[in-house]
Symmetry: C2
Subunit: 305 residues, 2 copies
């Protein structure tokens, strides 16, 4: 008998999000755990909570370079604890259902293609904006089998060293982590900002959500932090348009919540830098699935297998 | 009756090279003219010299963004004189044969795919190294219909302004023009070098060939100039591998003549920067067609039509 549900899991730099999803794309139940604790245990716990007899399989998306054949994460600069783990095998052995592994940006792109903005598009590049920055490319109607490591494209050749070993990577300048680093450096060197009050003196507890909320209240430093990250994101988007000229660049991930300042600045910077003809022919859009693109796309791995 | 010859033309930043080519890829006759004079006249002259009754058509490759439907070059930062010209129509009207237009890096990639290194590969990225830097991507056995403007990928976000309008473009740091700029700036600020003697005091007559020849004789400045451009080229190659992870990166164009210093340095830099797993699975090769990749690929446009 055909089974009509899948468990989709999105493993990011700070959290592990999972859902029971129907084959029509409805989210029936959701679970969220921190990814900083034991990954394998968290994963098994999530799957256990969501498992039913009508589940056809488990799909998951992970930030990093993955090996589809062995089901192992080869390299994950933002989540080194997951590198080399036999997570596919572990979940399959415990629950006796098929398990699929993909890069997190790829599953977000599959989600968009299945249920979101991507349904109508022949080509798009999805950029996932969070702790790190990931990418995925749909070309001529299909997901390309390429790493699309947009976050580890160097945009400041002689810049800071990244945890991946490269220098000046986009995600050092445009991600959530970059925003926090800008804000902390500015406050440590004496800049005044309401940001100082929001984390009871411990700057390291600041979150991108704090920065955006305070920026919307008009705080100068918070606004400048978002704009600085946005300008660098614009450099990355411009590079992507010069290379791929897709029908659309779809932005997904938690940081798209800061659209009005961070993303608007990125679009402005990209427009300033990109061949006019190429810029005029691309749409820059937020993911219409929001936070759910990853869990939906991970479920699609199961339905599409 | 089937015609067995085509005229292939490669229009670069400094010269216009054309050849009569057989459908088996043999070059029968070659012509070279500067591209700095009237483009249309040079083009008509080349075609006139090579035309025979057995020519099935004319193909040409041009540095820049082209519109395949109208046969017009939309944007060509290194050869602005060609922008907007109806060259396809002009040549067709004069000679009464089909005429095809493509980006210069795309025709070089088609040449490689037809007769060179690319014959055996499912995916490769061709990078053409000359006055500017162009790119082309073969994926899953076919040329991708994307601009692949690798030379206008920003690798120094806050760097120099490029003639294209962007800032810090790869070709400002890694092309032939970049080498000349490094050498001239160093000598103008007093660096000693044999380079000074080779152009009878006029530094602006220096060529990349001069720099390479003198570098091979052990001149410190000439070697450093090639290595500096090579290091930035390595940043660009690393970005391309992080995005596409192709089976090979094929380097074509005049500058590959400086392989032992410039390209070796680029490979060293790319290896230092790239995810190990991705770097280990890519070959970095010179075009096996050398200078002829462009004219052969342009002819292939005709045979493949």
């Amino acid at each position: 008998m055909k089974k009509h549900y899948a468990i989709g899991i999105d493993i990011g730099g700070t959290s592990l999000r999972a859902a029971l999803v129907s084959d029509e794309g409805a989210i029936v139940k959701k679970v969220k755990l921190p990814s900083s604790d034991g990954i394998t245990e968290s994963l098994l716990k999530c799957v256990g909570e969501l498992m039913t007899g009508d589940v056809a399989g488990v799909g998951f998306g992970v930030a990093g370079v993955i090996d589809r054949e062995t089901g192992v994460v080869i390299e994950s600069p933002n989540l080194p604890a997951i590198e080399g783990l036999q997570i596919t095998e572990t979940v399959r052995d415990r629950f006796g259902v098929p398990v699929f592994l993909e890069n997190d940006a790829n599953v977000a792109a599959l989600g968009e293609k299945w249920l979101g903005e991507g349904k109508k598009l022949r080509s798009f590049v999805l950029i996932s904006l969070g702790t790190g920055i990931g990418g995925s490319v749909v070309y001529d109607g299909s997901l390309m089998n390429i790493p699309a490591e947009i976050g580890h494209m160097s945009i400041v050749a002689n810049g800071e060293k990244c945890s991946c070993g490269n220098y000046g990577c986009l995600e050092l300048y445009a991600s959530a982590r970059a925003m926090l680093a800008y804000a902390i450096a500015a406050m440590e060197s004496g800049s005044a900002s309401v940001l100082k009050d929001c984390c009871t003196g411990n700057l390291y507890k600041l979150t991108p959500e704090d920065i955006y909320r305070i920026a919307l209240d008009g705080d100068t430093l918070a606004r400048e932090v978002l704009k600085e990250a946005g300008r660098y994101l614009g450099v990355g988007i411009s590079n992507i348009i010069h290379l791929f000229s897709p029908d659309a660049v779809i932005l997904s991930g938690g940081l798209t919540g800061a659209w009005n300042i961070y993303i608007q600045e990125a679009i402005r910077e990209a427009s300033r830098r990109t061949f006019k003809r190429l810029f005029d022919s691309v749409k820059i859009l937020p993911s219409s699935l929001g936070d759910n693109a990853g869990i939906l796309g991970s479920s699609f791995l199961v339905f599409n297998a």
